[in-house]
């Protein structure tokens, strides 16, 4: 199979991910729940993963890293932890993992404004964000990279703007974690970075990361056993226990740890350079095909490893289906981001191609040949 749906989840992982997961599966019991070998081994795997994630995301201490089930889980913790009656601002490129938790908070009196800047236009994004922040805005959420168009939003400038306006920012790093550097220590308004473990960090599905500046201040919506201060009926206030109730996915976290090690060793800059090269090539070839509409940035530094396109007269589903017949996996439809499609005006959906550091030039050539044939 030629796999080009890495924005959903990466399929090819470093060998060390699988190997370490199996080791953890065979040797680890419940982390933080015992003093015997298997429990201590589990805690060590989890601690190592935490330390690697802290380094990658610029957390000042390992305790600022929380392991979650996925990015959606991390975003829910962050959004529901800070939300109260008032307003929040979200970008016009948010995934339903942001839109739905925000909408669900309508019942506590939360309203939301959408900052809809034009695609690949950072200035218009910043203006929209600035205009959307009101006196009663008490937090903002912004994706780092659009999961539909690969648009890299001006996150540092948005962070600066939020800082100046005294608005805490939550960043959805679902499409950037592992390929674009994002560090809590380099941001001022950002209180949380939310990331999946199974995409650009090359961990297994069922893993995610929340990096939290002052997690002690966030409300919890899941409480339970943490293996700490267990005589108390109250959830621990300290991190990361505050948000890690119940048994952890130790084999998954052990695998994620190796994925992060792979990314750190190869270097996020080297990964994005490689992915960008592939995306630029795909875009340059697609635009030459009659009837193909390509959503590519003129300035390639504004696009990550994701690209959307359409073929005139064909639905995105039909295109994806025809590619699937040749064992080429791409994504069709609205990609759980109807808001992004509304912002750009592609409500019927697009065909999305997304690459990883394991995608080869041959994969791309085969994909392009097939699209030429379809179009």
């Amino acid at each position: 199979m030629i796999y080009l749906d890495n924005a959903a989840t990466t399929l090819q992982k470093p060998e060390s991910v699988k190997k370490t997961m199996m080791q953890a599966f065979d040797t680890c019991t419940n982390a933080g729940r015992g003093g015997y070998k298997g429990a201590i081994a589990a805690s060590e795997y989890v601690y190592t993963a935490r330390a690697r994630a802290a380094e990658l995301f610029g957390a000042k201490s390992v305790e600022q890293v929380v392991f979650t089930q996925n990015a959606t889980h991390a975003l829910n913790i962050a959004i529901k932890g800070i939300a109260k009656r008032g307003n929040c601002v979200i970008s016009g490129y948010e995934h339903n993992s942001v839109v739905r938790p925000v909408a669900a908070l309508k019942n506590i009196g939360l309203t939301w404004s959408v900052a809809s800047g034009r695609l690949f236009d950072c200035e218009s994004m910043l203006k929209a964000f600035s205009a959307s922040i009101k006196r009663n805005t008490h937090f903002a959420v912004c994706t780092h990279v659009s999961n539909v168009f690969g648009y890299i939003l001006p996150i540092k400038e948005i962070d600066d703007l939020c800082y100046k306006k005294g608005v805490p920012l939550i960043i959805d790093a679902s499409q950037s974690a592992g390929s674009i550097s994002i560090k809590l220590t380099e941001l001022r308004a950002t209180i949380c970075i939310c990331a999946p473990g199974h995409k650009g960090l090359y961990g297994p599905q069922g893993t995610g990361i929340l990096v939290c500046r002052e997690g002690e201040k966030l409300k919890t919506f899941v409480e339970g056993g943490t293996g700490s201060v267990s005589a108390e009926i109250w959830q621990p206030e300290f991190m990361p226990d505050r948000f890690e109730s119940g048994t952890q996915n130790v084999p998954g976290i052990a695998g994620l740890s190796e994925g992060i090690a792979y990314v750190s060793e190869r270097g996020v800059n080297s990964i994005i350079e490689y992915e960008r090269e592939l995306i630029e090539y795909i875009a340059s070839e697609l635009v030459r095909m009659p009837g193909v509409i390509v959503y590519a940035a003129k300035d390639s530094s504004l696009q990550g490893g994701v690209l959307s396109f359409e073929i005139e007269g064909m639905s995105s589903e039909t295109v994806a289906e025809q590619l699937a017949e040749s064992d080429i996996a791409v994504r069709s439809g609205v990609h759980c981001s109807p808001l992004a499609h509304k912002t750009v005006g592609t409500a019927r959906g697009t065909v999305r191609v997304s690459v990883s550091s394991f995608t080869t030039e041959n994969d791309i050539e085969t994909f392009l040949d097939r699209v030429r044939h379809i179009s």
Binding site: A31, G32, R33, G34, G35, I40, S43, E44, V46, Y47, R50, A51, S61, V62, E63, T226, G227, S228, V229, S230, A231, E232, P236, F238, P240, D241
Partner: protein
């Protein structure tokens, strides 16, 4: 078990303490302290030799991971040490 027990908030803190101590060449082992030492809660502690207590406390404080309690364990039993 003898020596010093440095109790921690959780398994994560115990691991963090152990790493810092090892970086400072202080041998440390993660253990489960008796429940009477942790206000009736399950918890973790790091066991070190009494010889290294001052260096251990300095290193942990410097890295902002101070122990919750410092307990001396000898043949007579437990004794909390104020640091």
């Amino acid at each position: 078990m003898k020596g010093i027990l440095l109790t921690s908030r959780s398994a994560t803190y115990a691991q963090h303490m152990k790493k810092i101590l090892e970086q400072n060449r202080i041998e440390a082992k993660i253990v489960r302290p008796d429940i009477e030492l942790t206000k009736g809660s399950c918890a973790y502690a790091v066991n070190i030799s009494q010889t290294f207590l001052p260096e251990a406390i300095d290193a942990l404080r410097l890295n902002r991971v101070p122990p919750v309690r410092v307990i001396l364990i000898d043949n007579r039993g437990y004794k909390e040490i104020n640091i």
